[in-house]
Amino acid sequence: MYDIIVIGGGPAGLAASINGKNRNKSVLLCSNDYRDSYLYKAARIENYPGRPGISGKELLEELVNHAKKAEVEFLQEKAFAVISLDGQIYVSAGDKVENARRVILAIGMASPNKFPGEAPFLGRGVSYCATCDGMLYRNGKKVTVVGKAENSVEEANYLNEIGCQVTFVSDKPAFGLKEGIESVVAKRLEVMGKDAVTALKADDREIPSDGIFILRNSVAPSDLLPGLELDGGAITVNRRMETSVPGVYAAGDCTGRPLQISKSLGEGQSAALNAAESIDLEKKEGKSAR
């Protein structure tokens, strides 16, 4: 068991991880590729105190290196589900389940605008997890992958390897797909079906599909941790960065405006220090978070 699992490797998550280690806590940072952070896209930053003109990429790489030096453990996986049980928090990420005393959500601005037809067919052909559900389609079933994340091509190749008949749909041409996977570029998507999924409508074309894997970088906070209190899409937190779920903290863009670097760094730090303090208190008193 870790002291702290941080989910999300942008400025908020990296600041939380570094500060957790500074307080002598074991920290696992579970995140997509660090290049998925919004910060990576910022060409030139003028309002980061002390470093005017620095690029987002440079700042992010400095933060990642700092975290590595601090011996933060990295797990490059997307977290799918978080639960709190018996005073511990369990996180499922990729094909692993890890647990910790505290979890800090630093998942950025999740903006999964769902496609028409997506929600009603979830579990009836629509899936978000190739690792979880790919095997259900392995016997030559027709599978369409909607690639929205860095590693979508990799996941499409995996589905192809286990025996699915794969079509890959993305808004830009995709590279690195295995032979036998058709690549389709389309902007407007719609899930079609009756009892179960039958096709993906991609612009003007209908792609017959037994299954549609919609692979995004983000998981909506309400899907990640059902029951988490939100306010207009932002995770509700108090001054200690505690969410409505005991033992779970949140920091950065995911807690709402302003969507800025320094605010994210500061909240990440605050969340980690408060989490560390409550772990110490709990150890002293010999009781759990609940």
Binding site: M1, L75, S92, N99, G125, M135, L136, A196
Partner: protein, 154 residues
């Protein structure tokens, strides 16, 4: 990143039916940061409770002989299914023989998955007097199922 054929972190899932009780302790440790091993330890004096492993052969009989039943569709290559399983264990403890807890391993009983259009796991189906009353895909927390079960106990 993809499921390895056999995985040592699945002890929990593979022991169906399981002996469980009021107190469960999960010892989780990581070795070299590459995997975690999850083992369940059970107190001795508790009563034996079973999570029924459903197959095509026994499904209909079990369905018709039980009043309120949760059926969890899972597979050992699915990590969120392991979280679902932790929740189900707690629910089984809490509700005892008021609710029947059952599992369908989709690898072993693919026909049941097909019959209920289960195309993503975990999926939990709830039946009352043999009738499907609720269907959830993806992980849902314990208190969701507690509300559902409490509303349907009688």
């Amino acid at each position: 990143m993809y499921p390895a054929g056999s995985n040592s972190s699945l002890i929990l899932m593979s022991s169906v039916p399981v002996k469980r009780g009021a107190f469960l302790e999960f010892l989780v440790f990581s070795a070299m940061g590459t995997f975690s091993l999850c083992a369940a330890y059970f107190k001795e004096e508790e009563k034996m409770m079973e999570i029924i492993n459903l197959t095509e052969a026994n499904f209909d009989t079990v369905l018709t002989t039980n009043n309120l039943m949760l059926v969890d569709f899972w597979a050992d290559w699915c990590a969120p299914c392991r979280l679902m399983s932790l929740v189900l264990d707690r629910l089984a403890e809490q509700y005892g023989d008021q609710v029947t807890m059952a599992k369908v391993n989709v690898d072993q009983a693919l026909e049941l998955a097909v019959r209920f259009h289960v195309l993503a796991i975990p999926t939990v189906l709830t039946f009352k007097k043999g009738k499907l009353i609720d269907r959830q895909t993806g992980f849902m927390p314990g208190n969701f199922y507690m509300d559902l079960l409490n509303a349907n106990l009688t």
